[in-house]
């Protein structure tokens, strides 16, 4: 118990350090950008120097970089993400508004890709070298090679415009005032296409990893031993081969969370999903440095939390974990 606590404490300490690097790195990167929030704002309005200076002053952009970084970090200590210059609202509120959508999108895409990918991977890996294995292997590779944004476009044209089965974008029917189950169903329908566009590439990834992991597991002695004990094929495939091949997938789940957040930037833009990814794109376009910092910080925290959860799940799935971690 105390060991778990020390481990957790160490992790948290490490994460804090990581977040600090992220914040400072991003801040400096964005400060180096040509143009600031006022330049971005002025695009749509125009205005003379007086007005520009007024805005710069009002938005606190006339202070030095270091002052602003220090102010930002100081506010962060108080869990205050600051004020978005373009939304003129607390960044926390802006992000919290968008976060659920992104979580829903990513959660569903993860569930789809992991669930379906690993199942198909088991199906393919159960008979290495068989036709279905080859077929799924090549098929998944092809899917793996399809850019998500491109897939999104194609899906929209086919399913939303031509067939009109699904909505073309958004997260729910606008201003529909639906509630409860009806609203959930509405959101689910809206999620189908973006989740597919975002999740398919990872589906292919998990399928391939599962398949590769199983191919590797088949070569392990303990599988030969299990076969020598006359266990049923089903048992060998599921309880031994797939079970062991699952472990690297779980690790991947953590690593992919960051990638998926990145992928959602494009997908959210293609499908007009009001999530964090699109907010990030808007923040970049608007040079809303504190907002983008807030988003990156949020995604970093998200990634860290996901990885922590994945570690817990992994420890649960792999009994060796505690031993090796403490041993090394």
């Amino acid at each position: 118990m105390t060991r778990a606590l020390t481990l957790l404490r160490r992790r948290l300490l490490g994460s804090t350090f990581v977040l600090l690097i992220v914040v400072i790195g991003t801040f400096l990167l964005l400060e180096a950008a040509p143009g600031d929030a006022v330049d971005a704002y002025i695009v749509s309005t125009g205005g003379d120097t007086g007005m520009i200076e007024l805005l710069r002053h009002r938005w606190g952009l006339d202070q030095s970089e270091l002052t602003r970084l220090a102010n930002y970090l100081w506010a962060l200590l108080h869990l205050d993400l600051g004020q978005s210059v373009t939304f003129s609202r607390p960044i926390r509120d802006v992000i919290l508004e968008r976060l659920p959508t992104t979580l829903l999108l990513m959660g569903s895409a993860t569930a789809l890709s992991f669930g379906l990918g690993s199942s198909l991977g088991i199906y393919a890996g159960a008979r290495p070298g068989s036709f279905r294995d080859r077929f799924l292997s090549i098929g998944s590779l092809a899917l793996y090679a399809v850019p998500g944004f491109w897939l999104g476009l194609v899906l929209i044209v086919i399913f939303a415009v031509d067939l009109r089965w699904l909505p073309i974008g958004g997260i729910e029917t606008i201003a529909s005032s639906k509630t409860g189950l009806a609203r959930a169903a509405d959101i689910a329908i809206h999620l189908v296409l973006p989740v597919s566009a975002l999740g398919f590439i990872y589906l292919a990834l998990y399928l391939r990893m599962m398949r590769a992991g199983m191919a590797e597991a088949w070569r392990q002695d303990f599988v030969l031993a299990a076969r020598s004990r006359g266990l049923s094929r089903r048992r060998i495939v599921l309880a031994h081969v797939a079970r062991n091949a699952l472990l690297p997938l779980v690790t991947m789940l953590g690593l992919q969370s960051a990638q998926m957040l990145g992928g959602s930037v494009v997908i959210e833009s293609v499908f007009a999903v009001p999530g964090l990814g699109r907010l990030a794109q808007e923040a970049v376009a608007a040079r809303d440095t504190p907002l983008l910092l807030g988003i990156i910080l949020t995604s970093a925290v998200l990634v860290i939390v996901v990885n922590l959860l994945v570690d817990v799940a992994y420890a649960f799935l792999d009994p060796r974990v505690g031993a090796s971690e403490a041993g090394a």
Binding site: I42, V43, S44, G47, M51, R58, S88
Partner: protein, 506 residues
Amino acid sequence: QTPKKGGRLVVAADSEPRNLNPAIVASNGVFFISSKVVETLAEASFDGKDGLQPRLALSWEGAADGLSVTFKLRDGVKWHDGKPFTSADVAFSALQIWKPLQNLGRTVFKDLAAVDTPDELTAVFKFAKPTPFQLIRNALPALSSVVPKHVYETGKIEENPANNAPVGTGPFKFAEYKAGQYYRLQKNTDYWGKDEPWLDEIVYQVLPDRTSAAAALEAEEIQLAAFSAVPLADLDRISKVPGLKVITKGYEGLTYQLVVEINHRRKELADLKVRQAIAHAIDKDFVVKTVFLGYAATATGPVPKNDPQFYTADVPTYAFDVAKANALLDEAGYKKGPDGKRFSLKLLPAPYFNETKQFGDYLRQALAAIGIDAELVNNDSPAHIKAVYTDHAFDLAVGPPVFRGDPAISTTILVQSGIPDGVPFSNQGGYKNEDLDALIAKASETLDTAARTELYKEFQKKVAADLPLINVAEWSFISVARDTVGKIANNPRWAVSNWADTYLAG
């Protein structure tokens, strides 16, 4: 199709303005939404006197000395919160917002000294210096959004929550904004217009991706896409989709100009022959035909052809003539090198429109044909603004300035000298022509409408002759709507007007 009362109109919105107060931010993106909520003193009109139609003001009268303008206001108008609309609101808006805070009003109303309110329905604008009445009149549709004094008088105007949830007198009330999703406007049952508005609701669905508007129209998720939200290249196909119509009218008062901005600090470009060569190298017809697919007109000078007051065709023109362009460059002493190149340039197309970027691509090819090697630099908006208007880190830029009904509002600034660094959409190319500066100054003080108009014709000639920048084309936008949407495009600024009479057919 019969007009019907009620219904919800769903419209595509491609951006989410951060500030919805049209009195502060006079821009089409803001007007598109808030012109239905906050009204101006007058709106543009196809057939009204001086191209205007009364809104909150019933009449306007300029004094001969150019020192005052008198507005008679509409009676019985109520703000959305129920309070009566009076001349005090106009005075407050003009003095506290338009003059000090509004992006465009800061120039037009710079000499506004006071607004007298002899009674609740009369507002008299007093100017410290003679100001042409023509200019004020032309500025009314875009610059005169009136906001309620009682809402704005406490606290800082810039931080007023009404900037994000505007309160006005318009036919629709601001109901709700879901970031990233939609804006919703609701019928104002107390609207002064008789039997108006027709619609119950307007919803602006945020569709940031340019291709999605067409798809959404086809999928019947939206009923109207204005401001060319449907890509031009798709119009031909869309117009054949049953139930959809393509409307090219209704943007006459919102003309965008395609302009090649020139950095005169570059010694090659400071040479008129080179600028002329570039002008000759651009096939304007090709640009109109290919980049704008015909939905544009070739330009002759800094005032668009569709402007009824100021435009003149009597200016030097530059026919597409590669041989002549080459000859001019040779004459100027920039001979082709062994690789066929004369010199290299940095070309910055503005990123705001697909068309400006595409024209950038075309211009690069056109310049290559006359031995000028242009390197394209793509920036996002803030970087482009900074590079062109603050850092002057460009040789050529492609910009889309807007002609707002009067050259003095946002056009002369494009060529005038002495503008401080960092002012966007102004002359930042280092161009200086004393004659032209004098002409601009004179026109700004000329009260007589005819004389003033004449001066601006002179201005067009000079610009076309000396080419401080090259006007290539003028375009306005296209709306695509379902057949059921009625009363579309019935004024020159329709998309940014109040839509009180727009209806959905049953």
